[in-house]
């Protein structure tokens, strides 16, 4: 049996009376990339925030393996505009044990960035590059990427995939990758999880989904159109 990385137990989250994630039991393994897809507001970000432990569950729990480190990239969270990349480097290298300077510099190189640039002066694609560089330099065993490549141009998308795949091959982490980009699902995913209205309505091998449809995007569209007919189990 493969070593598990994360296991959720009846994990659920509600904000006031609105259920963002219905109770779910999901296992995630090392050396696998899970593409998390679904329409906006389907619960993807909630699941990521619970796994990153930046939010507490309303119900249920998560089991992590020993010696895990979580790396998180969120599209809407960055750094102060005035901070230079060198200062980000200095900050992380003094406050994290596992900081790898070579990695940080290597990923900045992939994105053609230099240390004296200020975060606020960068393009959207370059900002994404800095966030990915910071995540990879911390050598996490669990990578959580919530629309890390949202709104960035094709060149930067390619650079992001290069950086992520290079270190995925080296570290063999457990990766959760939220995206709306079908090409990224096709090129990155081992497994696909489709979320709809707070529930994981489909989970399986990407190639299996592809094999049952004329193309991967048609398979995903098919699943998106499934109407959730599960009973309403409210997380109290």
């Amino acid at each position: 049996m493969r070593e598990y990385s994360i296991q959720t137990h009846y994990l659920a989250k509600a904000y006031d009376t609105k259920v963002a994630l219905y109770p779910c039991d999901i296992a995630f393994h090392y050396n696998r990339i899970y593409a998390l897809v679904g329409r906006n507001g389907s619960g993807k970000s909630t699941l990521v925030k619970l796994l990153a432990e930046v939010e507490a569950p309303t119900k249920g729990s998560i089991t992590f393996p020993s010696n895990y480190r979580v790396g998180l990239v969120q599209s809407d969270i960055g750094y102060p505009n005035q901070i230079a990349l060198l200062e980000i480097e200095n900050l992380f290298s003094t406050c994290t044990n596992h900081w790898c300077k070579e990695r940080f510099n290597h990923v900045l190189n992939i994105f053609n960035l230099s240390h004296n640039q200020q975060f606020g002066a960068l393009s959207t694609g370059q900002k994404a590059g800095v966030k990915i560089a910071v995540m990879l330099a911390q050598k996490p065993t669990i990578w959580l990427l919530d629309e890390a490549t949202l709104g960035i141009d094709l060149l930067a998308q390619g650079q992001a995939l290069t950086a992520l795949l290079e270190y995925f091959g080296e570290d063999k982490p457990c990766v959760l990758y939220c995206t709306h980009n079908v090409n990224e699902v096709e090129q990155l995913a081992d497994e696909v999880l489709v979320m709809q209205r707070g529930r994981v309505i489909w989970q399986g091998e990407k190639d299996q989904l592809h094999a049952q449809h004329p193309s991967l995007s048609e398979g995903l569209l098919d699943l998106f159109q499934l109407d959730s007919e599960l009973p309403n189990i409210e997380a109290a």
């Binding site: 290069t162 795949l165 290079e166 091959g169 090409n183 090129q187 990155l188 990407k206």
Partner: protein, 126 residues
């Protein structure tokens, strides 16, 4: 020389199938020669920008088919062509492959000579 593989997103074929097919075509066209080493799984993964597990699966399938052979700790190489099927099995497989080729090219409405020419071109008139 880097292995010349182009993947196409959102095709009817999975990326695993595309990699398998293009490696086999490279071998058939002698762009890859027997005993030549293939790029490592991680190299090809970064080159094509696809999950290394997908590349590894394609290599495994080709090893299983006998197109490639793997050496523990050394990597994956183009296998020597050798007869490993009985005479009747070889003839059955050849017939099936020929039928598939004819069926695949039927809609092109080509002459018999044009089809035979195409095959000799791929074989490099060996």
């Amino acid at each position: 020389m880097p292995l010349n593989i182009h993947i196409q997103n959102d095709s009817a074929q999975t990326l695993t199938e595309q990699i398998c097919q293009q490696v086999e075509l490279s071998i058939a066209a002698a762009n890859l020669t027997p005993n030549e080493a293939l790029p490592s799984v991680r190299q090809l993964s970064v080159q094509l920008k696809v999950n290394p597990n997908t590349v590894a699966r394609a290599y495994q399938q080709l090893v299983h088919k006998g197109s490639l052979r793997s050496e523990r700790g050394k990597g994956v190489f183009v296998a020597e062509c050798r007869a490993k099927f009985s005479a009747s099995e070889t003839s059955t497989r050849l017939q099936t492959a020929a039928q598939r080729f004819v069926a695949d090219t039927r809609h092109l409405a080509l002459s018999k000579d044009a089809l035979l020419d195409a095959i000799s071109t791929v074989l490099g008139d060996k």
